[in-house]
């Protein structure tokens, strides 16, 4: 334990972090050497961002020690960590959209600079040093995503950082911008600044990281010098887990075509077309931002789009708004429970009955006993753990909240159930119950579209998998005959053919 390497800028030891229902980090230890670019890879939800947020002081850690630049870090805050020389470019952009570029770079530090004039001058210098020519007086809300990204990088540089964490900085950069970023990274490295680089684009990892750490499910799987690992090894380590009893036996009852989707085209999506069969679970795999959510929102009529076709049981149907989809027997469980699914101040009962209000009302009056009956039935059959159906849904755990939403949609007897990240933030037990439920639905003749960032989940549950990359469907797999590596290589953005 004594032999902390003198040249380690950051050493993380046995750090753990629990979120309600999720063990996001479990005894994680990493050492980052001075002046290196340290890559971290791992599936969605592996815990990469969480670890970085603990380093920067956004989240407190539950246990473990962190030593940064030779000093023990306790009770840090974002600003303290930045001032101590550790800055971070968050995965979700961390800018005030109503303010200018220059101000965002020096947010909270105007006083130290002596006047707004200096703010813009310095900001301009910083941006130019990374090859960006954004006017510093422009509002952030007027920037493109990649321009915003550059602003974030400039912001990190504006501190005299010894270590810069980049959490998926390249996910939205153009090729030119990416080149500039690579240059910057080399430049920083030359100055002795260390970098933690998180990315799903494995090419980048190989291009300029000297060490790579692979994470999965809150654990560190391995840390290796980059020249000691191959690409396929890396993917295997990222996704390859063999867990027997986490999933029920895959249902096998695929029948004739139930729904056909043709030519969905939006700014983000290109020529999306696929078929869904009766009794089938269709998995959509892709990276964050690949466009999976947009596809299902388009099908469900949640976003207004034109020119697409949806054919249900051979009949062309028009879906302009969610109620049309509901009528056609399509249900959507959204990815963001809190903002798009639940009505937090409502009771469990009222949340469950939301989609069938019109069915349980007669002459405008709600049949409350029927509502209660339905709610109780779902609470029982889905085993929702709640003191009573009158309890405010806010007070339930994530898994039980999710089950309420599932119950809501099961009640309309959907022929197509779309599940967008149905198990996000849910513990293993509850997950299993949800899987059983899915099985039951398809066995009863329904069909499911499953979006999940957990590859094993998709692989174990689906009868067929489509990979989505940058708004296009890039591949179709039978999960029984394909390896995770094959599938992921179609999902990774850097693998696209021009």
């Amino acid at each position: 334990m004594q032999n902390i390497k003198q040249d380690a800028i950051l050493s993380i030891k046995n750090v753990s972090k629990n979120f309600p229902g999720v063990k996001a980090l479990d005894q994680v230890s990493i050492e980052v050497e001075r002046g290196t670019v340290h890559g971290i890879v791992g599936e969605n939800g592996a815990g990469k961002s969480t670890l970085m947020k603990i380093l920067s002081g956004v989240h407190p850690k539950d246990s473990g020690t962190i030593i940064f630049d030779g000093e023990l870090v306790e009770n840090t805050t974002p600003i303290l960590s930045m001032k101590s020389g550790l800055s971070i470019i968050y995965q979700e952009l961390n800018l005030v959209s109503t303010m200018t570029v220059g101000e965002n770079i020096f947010l909270g530090r105007f006083g130290e600079l002596g006047g707004m004039q200096h703010v813009h001058e310095k900001a301009k210098g910083l941006l130019e040093s990374i090859g960006s020519h954004v006017t510093t007086y422009k509002l952030v809300s007027e920037l493109s995503v990649s321009e915003k990204q550059m602003v974030e990088i400039a912001k990190a540089l504006s501190f005299d950082s010894k270590l810069i964490i980049m959490d998926e900085p390249s996910s939205s950069l153009t090729a030119d911008e990416m080149k500039a970023l690579v240059k910057i990274i080399h430049h920083l490295k030359a100055q002795g600044i260390s970098i933690i680089y998180i990315s799903h684009k494995l090419d980048e990892i190989f291009e300029f990281c000297s060490v790579v750490t692979i994470m999965r499910d809150g654990h560190i799987i391995d840390t290796k010098p980059i020249n000691a690992i191959t690409r396929s090894e890396m993917i295997t380590k990222m996704v390859g887990r063999t867990i027997e009893n986490e999933y029920p036996k895959r249902p096998n009852c695929v029948g004739e075509t139930l729904m056909e989707v043709q030519s969905i085209n939006t700014k983000k999506l290109h020529d999306i077309a696929f078929k869904l069969h009766r009794g089938e679970i269709l998995g959509l795999v892709g990276l964050v931002g690949a466009g999976r959510t947009e596809i299902v929102r388009a099908i469900f009529g949640a976003d207004r789009i034109k020119g697409h076709k949806i054919i249900m049981e051979g009949k062309l149907i028009k879906i302009r708004k969610p109620s049309d989809a509901k009528k056609a027997g399509i249900a959507l469980v959204t990815e963001d429970r809190k903002t798009q699914g639940l009505v937090l101040p409502f009771s469990v009962e009222n949340n469950i009955s939301m989609a069938i209000l019109d069915k349980i009302s007669k002459y405008g009056f709600l049949n409350k006993s029927m509502e209660t009956e339905i709610a109780e039935r779902h609470v029982k059959s889905l085993d929702i753990k709640t003191p009573s159906i009158k309890t405010t849904v806010q007070n339930l755990s994530g898994g039980n909240q999710q089950k309420c939403i599932l119950g809501r949609w099961l009640e309309i007897n959907p022929s197509v159930l779309i599940l967008d990240e149905p198990t996000r933030g849910i513990d293993v037990g509850a997950k299993y119950e949800i899987y059983l439920l899915m099985k039951q639905i398809v066995e009863n003749g329904g069909a499911i579209i499953l979006i999940s960032s957990e590859l094993p989940e998709v692989l174990n549950m689906s009868n067929r998998v489509l990979t989505v990359c940058e708004g296009r469907i890039t591949g179709e797999f039978d999960p029984k005959d394909s390896t995770p590596d094959q599938i992921m290589s179609k999902a990774f953005a850097s693998e696209r053919k021009e």
Binding site: A302, K321, P322, K326, Q340, V343, L344, P345, L357, F365
Partner: protein, 324 residues
């Protein structure tokens, strides 16, 4: 043993939920000790009559606030309805005049919602200022129609006994205005808790996005919300002019703030989705009782303002603390 424990728990939860009941109890207790006349039948029926106009407006406002919006135009609607109703007694007779008044209230409410929907102004702040502007418009119309002068109901050549019945008549033990209140409360309670429309209005304030993704028509709900507010303001206005037998073009002044306060003090939160008409009844009761009791206790009218402000601030603050 358990029943005792449960009783305590129920009591606690009621008290926590309805902190305001405690405030009302204290107020009633103190006043009736100092001034026994407070508990006289005469005074209680006075309180009920005074309650009349404000409660109507506040009940309507409850729907608006639960729906996640706010309505400052009620003051203007009350004045406009008052003026128009009295104006039409001579022209069309009392029954039609009354219906015209109610229709105007409804129309004003629908116009408000149309402005919000067409401009996509679906935040509370936008609603605040649009309805404020509309309040000026309705108030101005009231002044223009009346020429600025107050008109008394009994100046009319037509029969006005309908208004006399509403204002000062009674059915059995209850005054007519109390019966109107009971009917409105019952209808609105049913509407809020037992109908599709009521649930959807609540959903509008609870989570618009989620409701829309469940295939619910939010726009229709918003129209409905403001229509109720407009209609209830009109009913309040008619109860008010019947009570005082005169319609001044500025008769609605101050009703918007008092109604909002009554709703919020009752425990319906401005963030939407939560609350009930029953709470508003309690909130209005507190607001009305506060001035009744202070008048009886001989508190000077200036100090009344101070105390009223202080009690409201504290009530809202306590409610806020309880929730967080």
């Amino acid at each position: 043993m358990t029943s005792k424990y449960e009783f305590k728990k129920i009591f606690e939860s009621i008290f926590k939920e309805y902190l305001i009941l405690g405030a009302i109890a204290v107020l009633v207790l103190v006043t009736s000790v100092v001034q026994p006349a407070f508990l006289s039948v005469g005074n209680l029926s006075n309180v009920i009559r005074q309650f009349g106009p404000l409660i109507m407006v506040a009940l309507g406002m409850t729907f608006v606030i639960i729906g996640g919006f706010i309505d400052l135009s009620v003051a203007g609607i009350i004045s406009l309805v008052a003026v128009v109703t009295v104006h039409f007694i001579d022209i069309a007779g009392q029954g039609p005049a009354l219906l015209i008044g109610l229709g105007i209230g409804l129309a004003c409410g629908i116009l408000n919602s149309a402005l919000l929907l067409t401009s996509g102004a679906l935040t509370q702040a936008e609603a605040l200022f649009i309805t404020y502007g509309m309040s000026l418009v309705y108030g101005a119309l009231a002044l223009i129609i009346s020429g600025g002068s107050t008109k008394h109901i009994f100046w009319s050549e037509n029969n006005t006994n309908l208004f006399e019945i509403i204002g000062s008549g009674s059915v059995g033990f209850f005054s007519t205005s109390f019966l109107i209140f009971l009917i409105c409360l019952m209808v609105l309670y049913l509407l809020q808790n037992y109908t599709y429309a009521g649930r959807v209005m609540r959903l509008t304030g609870g989570n618009k996005t989620a409701a829309e993704l469940c295939g619910i028509n939010i726009n229709r709900s918003i129209i409905f919300i403001y229509a109720i507010s407009g209609l209830m303001s009109a009913i309040g206005s008619i109860v008010l002019i019947s009570r005082v037998t005169t319609a001044s073009p500025v008769i609605g002044t101050g009703y918007e703030t008092n109604a909002i306060l009554a709703v919020v003090v009752g425990g319906t939160t401005l963030s939407g989705g939560k609350g009930s008409v029953m709470r508003t009844v309690l909130g209005t009761m507190l607001v009305i009782l506060l001035s009744n009791c202070m008048n009886l206790l001989g508190v000077s009218v200036y100090l009344q303002y101070v105390l009223k402000g202080a009690i409201l601030v504290i009530a809202i603050w306590m409610d806020n603390r309880k929730q967080s």
